[in-house]
């Protein structure tokens, strides 16, 4: 390894699918420091290479699958994949993550990112080794779900376990379902904004990356090992992460119900239905309710990802991946399903078909509510779908993936489907006006994420849940329904997640004080990076993704929740409280704090200059603007 590329492979793999040409470009040192990797690198490529006329399904769209400086190193949870593209849900920027071993294997083959452009004339998969990169015929993989695809490639390439990392689309991506995801390494999903539809449109079925023979050097390896241990210790002991360390996101169900933020039956209630054994839904019981075994990402010690075996009921004996909170919500509570054994099955069917579990929850819940209320008939759908009907939900997956009958409309996502059906049905659907699917909580009780989802530029949340707000001069905690502090918090912390998403690391293992995280990046890269530089890098990516969206015509007029998404809860801990009474005030605060112009939605020239985005000022504000 050349010492000048500490923590990086130093090359970006480029694939033109139209011509079949494959080459690699250098990832020079100055670019590495400015864009870091992952979300930052992806934002740069999107801004520079995807013109406004190139919609999500245009060959000129780019599909960036990037990792970052921590991938392949011994910091916990560092197999990271960040997908950046112009996505099918919003037709704007996408920033979505998965983990597993993608990032580690890719760097061991000698690349920091893969950038697809063009459109292949036939179905292909990309095979990456440390010596050779090839587009190969994928006809034998067509129709296979993403787990079957990985198994078939393991057999084809004669490799097992993490010797091969496979990220693929299932039948959903092949059919260009708008909320199709990219799934990999049995249970890790880059799910947002229809990135799987982009991959499908390019006719790439899978990316198969061998665990190459190259190495990743750290500038200060002893300091890196020490920083990795410091991060691990913090995750194990800090009150905010200890639960996550022990049970991943399983604790979410019980806690969110207490906050009125568990989305039950398409936001029609915030209270457990009668007769539900709520003890089954506590983290230790969700874990121990199955035979299970840890299935960790590269170098990770969190007790988070598990494989499990369904213990009872119609799906007994099947191997599934333990649902995240998002799975328990989207494949469970949002559609009224309350039996963990069944929900775990449905969640894995979604992963295998490679659909976004959040959007599926809102879509399926909407169909169920519409049938219950008579807005959709049995004939419209072809069968009766009642609340909690997991088998019926499974049937819906099949219809969507094949675009069969009403599945063809549902494959467009709940926003477009509900707009098409119209009438009272249109008022029951959960979405944002720019097409972003909210994550799997009831955001009427989590105003920070409702605001974040509407103002974000990545096809999902931008800031995410607050992480160590006191580091940035904010109160340790605020009332989740206090409009001005909520908006200030979301805008002030904006950028931290984009930095994390640039590292090739997991959002859960980077949930440590910023100084500790920066110590690991500094030891890996040799940079004297502190939290201010890190935050600036994140805000740079966030601002550029926003600039990209504005250039595509996605502006502040679309930063609104749908009627149901911002409705007033009728029961539970926040009954009768509505975010809409405060919406304009929240936007005022958010824009002012973020340094963006309230009227046009643009980052102000001052903001762009402070983020070293001087060359974005003229394209955004006109040639007359002072650069």
């Amino acid at each position: 390894m050349a010492d000048t590329t500490y923590a990086y492979a130093g090359r970006i793999l480029r694939v033109d699918l139209t011509t079949g040409r494959i080459w690699s470009d250098p990832f020079p040192g100055a670019d590495r420091r400015k864009w870091v990797g992952g979300a930052g690198l992806g934002a740069k490529i999107l801004w520079e290479e995807v013109p406004p006329h190139a919609d999500w399904d245009h060959p000129d769209n780019r599909l960036v699958m990037a990792t970052g400086p921590l991938a392949g190193l011994p910091v916990w949870g560092t197999g990271g994949l960040t997908v950046v593209t112009r996505g099918a849900m919003t037709n704007g920027a996408t920033n979505t993550q998965a983990n597993g071993f993608f990032g580690a294997n890719l760097k061991l083959c000698g690349y920091d990112a893969i950038v697809f452009q063009g459109q292949s004339p036939r179905w292909v998969y990309l095979h990456v080794t440390d010596e050779r990169v090839e587009l190969r015929d994928a006809s034998f993989l067509l129709g296979k779900d993403s787990w079957e695809t990985q198994q078939a490639l393991e057999a084809e390439l004669r490799l097992t376990g993490h010797r091969l990392s496979v990220y693929s689309i299932g039948p959903a991506g092949e059919s260009l379902v708008r909320f199709a995801a990219i799934q990999g390494d049995y249970g890790h999903v880059a799910s947002k904004n229809g990135c799987g539809a982009v991959m499908g449109k390019k006719r790439v079925k899978a990316v198969a990356i061998e665990r190459g023979a190259r190495g990743v050097a750290a500038a200060h390896p002893h300091a890196l090992l020490a920083a990795a241990e410091e991060i691990a210790h913090n995750l194990k002991t800090d009150p905010s992460t200890k639960g996550l360390y022990m049970f991943g996101t399983l604790g979410g169900v019980r806690n969110l119900h207490g906050m009125g933020a568990l989305p039950i039956r398409n936001y029609t209630t915030n209270v457990w239905p009668e007769g539900v054994d709520t003890k089954l839904w506590e983290a230790p019981n969700l874990r121990e309710g199955f035979d299970h075994r840890g299935h960790q990402c590269s170098a990770c010690g969190m007790h988070h990802c598990h494989m499990q075996v369904i213990r009872s009921g119609p799906y007994k004996g099947q191997v599934v991946d333990e649902p995240e909170y998002e799975g328990w919500a989207g494949a469970g509570w949002a559609i009224g399903a309350t039996n963990p054994q069944e929900v775990a099955w449905l969640n894995t069917q979604l992963d295998r078909a490679s659909l976004d579990v959040n959007e599926f929850g809102w879509l399926c819940g909407w169909v169920m509510e519409c049938q219950q209320k008579g807005y959709l008939s049995e004939k419209d759908l072809g069968f009766r779908l009642e609340w909690g009907d997991v088998e019926g939900a499974g049937r819906l997956i099949g219809m969507i993936c094949k675009r069969e009958g009403m599945g063809n409309l549902l494959a467009e996502g709940v926003k477009r489907a509900s707009e098409k059906v119209g009438g009272p049905a249109a008022e029951c659907a959960i979405y944002t006006m720019n097409g972003t699917s909210p994550r799997g909580h009831d955001h009427r009780s989590r105003w920070e994420e409702l605001l974040d989802t509407c103002t974000g530029s990545s096809g999902t949340k931008d800031t995410g849940p607050p992480t160590f707000p006191t580091e940035w001069g904010l109160p340790a905690r605020i009332s989740p329904q206090d409009p001005v502090p909520v908006a200030r918090q979301v805008a002030t912390l904006r950028g931290r997640k984009h930095f994390e998403d640039s590292l090739g690391a997991c959002v859960f293992t980077t949930r440590v004080p910023m100084d500790i995280l920066c110590r690991s990046v500094a030891a890996a890269t040799g940079w004297d990076i502190g939290r201010d530089e890190a935050m600036r890098a994140g805000r740079r990516a966030a601002a550029l993704l926003r600039a990209f969206n504005l250039r595509c015509g996605i502006g502040p007029e679309l930063e609104k929740p749908s009627k149901r998404y911002a409705s007033t809860p009728v029961d539970g801990p926040i009954a009768g409280v509505s975010i809409l009474d405060h919406w304009e005030t929240m936007l005022d605060t958010w824009y002012e704090t973020a340094g963006y112009d309230r009227k046009t939605g643009r980052p102000t020239p001052e903001t762009l200059r402070a983020l070293e985005l001087d060359d974005v000022i003229a394209p955004l504000w006109g040639a007359g603007a002072r650069a």
Partner: protein, 157 residues
């Protein structure tokens, strides 16, 4: 002596041991040079690390025609780089497949217990790899003395 004890059911397949081991071996994080390897079983549902068990009846050691493999103070069967001629006989003799050949250096390489502080055990987040005291057969002591590496040589690695 202390040995590596592996508890396969605790392994989650995170491969951190491979990273740490390769760093000890090469100074970079390069799992292809690791002498502990994680295998998957039953498809993708279970994993287990394996490495040299430092077996008493060390076939690698007896097979070596130039006596490049000795026993280190930590009790590890260890390859002396300056003696090894790269004939690969040890890699063929080893019944466990845990002696490797490096085509770059043309030498055999294997687990040396990191001189008594095995990195794989240190970094394993689930304690699937332990470094623990274990009884040895009586005859091993004299055998070890006979074939022990000079201390200076052992420390040079």
């Amino acid at each position: 002596m202390r040995v590596l004890k592996i508890i396969p059911e605790r392994c989650t397949g995170c491969m951190r041991c491979e990273l740490a081991c390769s760093y000890e071996q090469t100074g970079t994080f390069q799992p292809s040079k690791a002498v502990i390897r994680v295998s998957s079983f039953e498809g993708h549902t279970s994993y287990a690390p394996y490495t040299c068990p430092q077996c008493a009846e060390a076939w690698c050691l007896t097979a070596c025609p130039v006596e490049a493999i000795g026993i280190s103070p930590a009790g590890a069967k260890e390859v002396a780089d300056d003696i090894c001629v790269g004939c690969k006989l040890c890699t063929i003799a080893c019944p466990y497949g845990t002696v490797f050949y490096d085509p770059d250096s043309h030498k055999a390489f294997k687990c040396d217990l990191c001189g008594g502080k095995p990195a794989c055990a240190t970094v394993c987040p689930t304690q699937a790899i332990l470094y623990v005291e274990a009884g040895t057969e009586d005859w091993l002591a004299s055998f070890a003395a006979e074939r022990a590496l000079p201390a200076a040589l052992a420390g040079a690695r």
